[in-house]
């Protein structure tokens, strides 16, 4: 909250777009700002009425360097925008640095994301230290089509203006806490010696030489990838990581997505009855990749580029009682299967489970 808890004394607010950036079409700017306002109006009783000429509560403008408010902009990057807490005059106004590359996608800086953040200030919110929150100070791209206002921001704004009038109260995503014993994973893979754990729109990155675990948005590295990756594995020999979601898969070579992806998973030999892959790992000694779907698994020969005959087989027959596999990866000769908050360590030579741990055992909690 902003010190002094400033808030608007009325729920029906007005806004005006004073001028437009030259970097985007005016209709795209209008659309981005309307979507940004809706982020807040959909979780509170607040409404926003556009005005064309008179002084509005929230005046939105693009400005250069020193623009007479004691807070000059600094050219490309660095400071992107700022806004003022509720009040008369400058109060509520949003200023955007015209020297930024404003866009409606993942290039440059997404105008919708930045305006939505600044409107949080216009309504009385301060910065949040939750790295997944919209009110976190640093820019982080999220595909506007997938954007959901996080719970941290919903809690903040509703503490000021109350809940929305909807019968069903909206809820939002929470940010994974590395040492949360209830943490489960969508997919896990190694990547050039590091371990990447996928969870919703986030990836937890663990470097063997560093004690901390980094939490980032998937979009930070791969803006064109969707959230909710369902399976992933590294083919170390080819220096590739394959990522799966629904009936599509992407190939990352080094750190870049290979052009021409996503492609249908059926190219790998799955029957049409398979709609998604739950987990996968590549056995670097045999060159075989194991795909886990519901209670069965397939085995793919990376050299022949085709599925081996005699599959699918029942997981329980060959791997034991590990249940549905959420995620899997191989490290130092062992395979680690994740099922909810449990992790099974499987020895492919002895063909049996040799140990089981908590899902967060890799994070030095």
């Amino acid at each position: 909250f902003t010190p002094g808890n400033p808030k608007w004394k009325k729920n029906n607010l007005t806004y005006r777009i004073v001028n437009y950036t030259t970097k985007m079409r005016q209709t795209d700017v209008d659309e981005a700002i309307q979507k940004a306002l809706k982020v807040w109006s959909s979780v509170t009783p607040l409404t926003f009425q556009k005005t064309e000429d008179k002084i509005a509560d929230i005046m939105i403008s693009f400005a250069y360097r020193d623009h007479n408010d004691n807070s000059p902009f600094d050219g490309p990057n660095g400071l992107l925008a700022h806004a003022f807490q509720p009040g008369e005059g400058l109060g509520g106004d949003v200023h955007l640095d015209e020297e930024e590359t404003w866009t409606k996608d993942g290039r440059g800086y997404n105008l919708f994301i930045v305006v939505a953040h600044e409107l949080g200030h216009s309504l009385g919110l301060s910065h949040s230290n939750d790295p997944g929150a919209l009110m976190y100070p640093n820019y982080a791209y999220t595909d506007p089509k997938e954007f959901l206002l996080p719970q941290d921001d919903i809690d903040g704004i509703q503490a000021i203006y109350g809940q929305s009038d909807d019968a069903v109260q909206p809820t939002g995503p929470t940010t994974p806490q590395v040492c949360d014993p209830n943490l489960t994973f969508d997919a896990i893979t190694t990547l050039r010696g590091e371990m990447i754990f996928f969870k919703g729109r986030y990836m937890l990155r663990k470097h063997p030489e560093r004690s901390e675990t980094e939490l980032n948005f998937i979009s930070l590295f791969w803006p064109n990838l969707p959230s909710g990756i369902q399976a992933a594995y590294e083919n170390i020999e080819r220096d590739e990581v394959l990522l799966f979601k629904e009936d599509k898969y992407w190939v990352i070579r080094g750190y870049d997505i290979v052009r021409g992806y996503p492609k249908p998973i059926y190219r790998l030999g799955f029957p049409k009855t398979v709609k998604r892959v739950n987990a996968a790992y590549n056995d670097e000694t045999t060159g075989k990749t194991y795909f886990f779907v519901a209670d069965r698994y397939w085995r793919y020969d990376e050299n022949k580029k085709s599925m081996d005959h005699g599959y699918p087989r029942k997981i329980i027959h060959d791997f034991g009682k590990i249940g549905r596999v959420d995620a899997a990866f191989q490290k130092d000769g062992y395979v680690y299967f994740f099922h909810k908050t449990t992790q099974f360590q499987f020895d492919p030579r002895a063909k049996r489970i040799v140990s089981h741990m908590k899902s967060i055992s890799w994070f030095n909690c």
Binding site: L79, Y109, H121, N129, N138, E212
Partner: protein
């Protein structure tokens, strides 16, 4: 692996740290150089405040992670105090 910063980098880094803390953590701009030495502890305190906010290791020193965070594009509203 991290490479030890060159002397020139260090100067640039100090400027970055001071400007960042002045912009976002209410570090006072003291224009009397001799106070600067005394101010350094105050700067370390502000740096700790920033490191705590971002969940970094609270060292009070401009280490690599801290400088990396300070270089990220961001909102111009301060993280602490009232923005008037």
């Amino acid at each position: 692996f991290p490479v030890a910063p060159e002397k020139e980098d260090e100067g640039k880094n100090i400027n970055l740290v001071e400007t960042y803390l002045q912009n976002f953590y209410n570090l006072q701009k003291d224009h009397r150089p001799h106070l600067r030495q005394g101010g350094k502890n105050h700067l370390a305190e502000k740096l700790k405040e920033m490191q705590e906010f971002f969940g970094l290791q609270v060292t009070g020193k401009p280490d690599r992670d801290t400088l990396e965070m300070m270089n990220k594009p961001r909102c111009g509203v301060p993280d602490v105090e009232q923005y008037v």
